[in-house]
Symmetry: C2
Subunit: 147 residues, 2 copies
């Protein structure tokens, strides 16, 4: 069993169990949000999650979506990715990995782990301790070269 489950076919009971594993009380709203998220590896922002939950016919308020995403991130079932000053992405892949960010399309994608290596990590400034190391490779749409 992998740590980052990506089954499309996760029923409410399965989702609830998974939430419990992360010490999250599985309310109706949390299960609905988790179902949308755990449908596969994704990088979604709060708005998109709200849209998908609503599209799925479930009624969940904006405040609850924000509360829940924050809770999920705290509990470690999701990872926040802060790469764009306008929105936080929630990453269903909670293992250590880095990202490409397409500044034209706004699309975030994983960098194949092992395809990058950060060496010689420096000491954190006096009085602080490292929390996370994040590599972001910003990419642009390739422009057509002149013929």
């Amino acid at each position: 069993m992998s740590h980052s489950v990506t089954l499309t076919t996760l029923d409410d009971a399965g989702v609830a169990k998974r939430l419990c594993d992360y010490d999250i009380l599985p309310t109706r709203q949390r299960v609905q949000i988790a179902r949308v998220l755990l449908a596969g590896d994704q990088h979604l922002c709060a708005d998109q999650v709200l849209g998908k939950v609503k599209a799925a016919g479930s009624g969940v308020s904006k405040a609850t979506v924000y509360n829940t995403l924050g809770l999920f991130a705290d509990k470690g079932i999701l990872r926040e990715v802060k790469v764009d000053p306008n929105r936080v992405f929630y990453d269903t892949n909670n293992s250590e990995h880095h990202h490409f960010y397409n500044i034209d399309s706004g699309e975030l994608s994983d960098i194949d782990p092992g395809r990058i290596l950060v060496d010689q990590l420096p000491e954190a400034p006096e009085g602080s301790v490292i929390d996370s190391v994040e590599v972001i490779i910003r990419v642009r749409q390739q422009s057509i070269p002149d013929v």
Copy 2:
């Protein structure tokens, strides 16, 4: 002469010349903003720049501060650092380097170049091309260990 000038004693004429070097027409407002910025190596957000300009007794509008910071970044005299979803930092050090970001204090600081090395850069996704590579080391205030 280094590329990133950090003189505290840069007069209006000097600043204006520097703006011209970057192909920026030195208006009164742009010079005032540049004086605040080029006073030393700093990582400031728009609000802080606006505050400093106003504190210096110069009248510059919010819209002009935003326009000008964007222009300076486009022209390459400043670098935008996107590490916090709430604000963009403007870095007066426009050379390639990476950052520590203290998530408790909100302080951004440079990583000594050469103290970090990113290896085995992966290929950009099909149809895209690398724009920049950014390493962000998030740090926390060190908690006091139990006695």
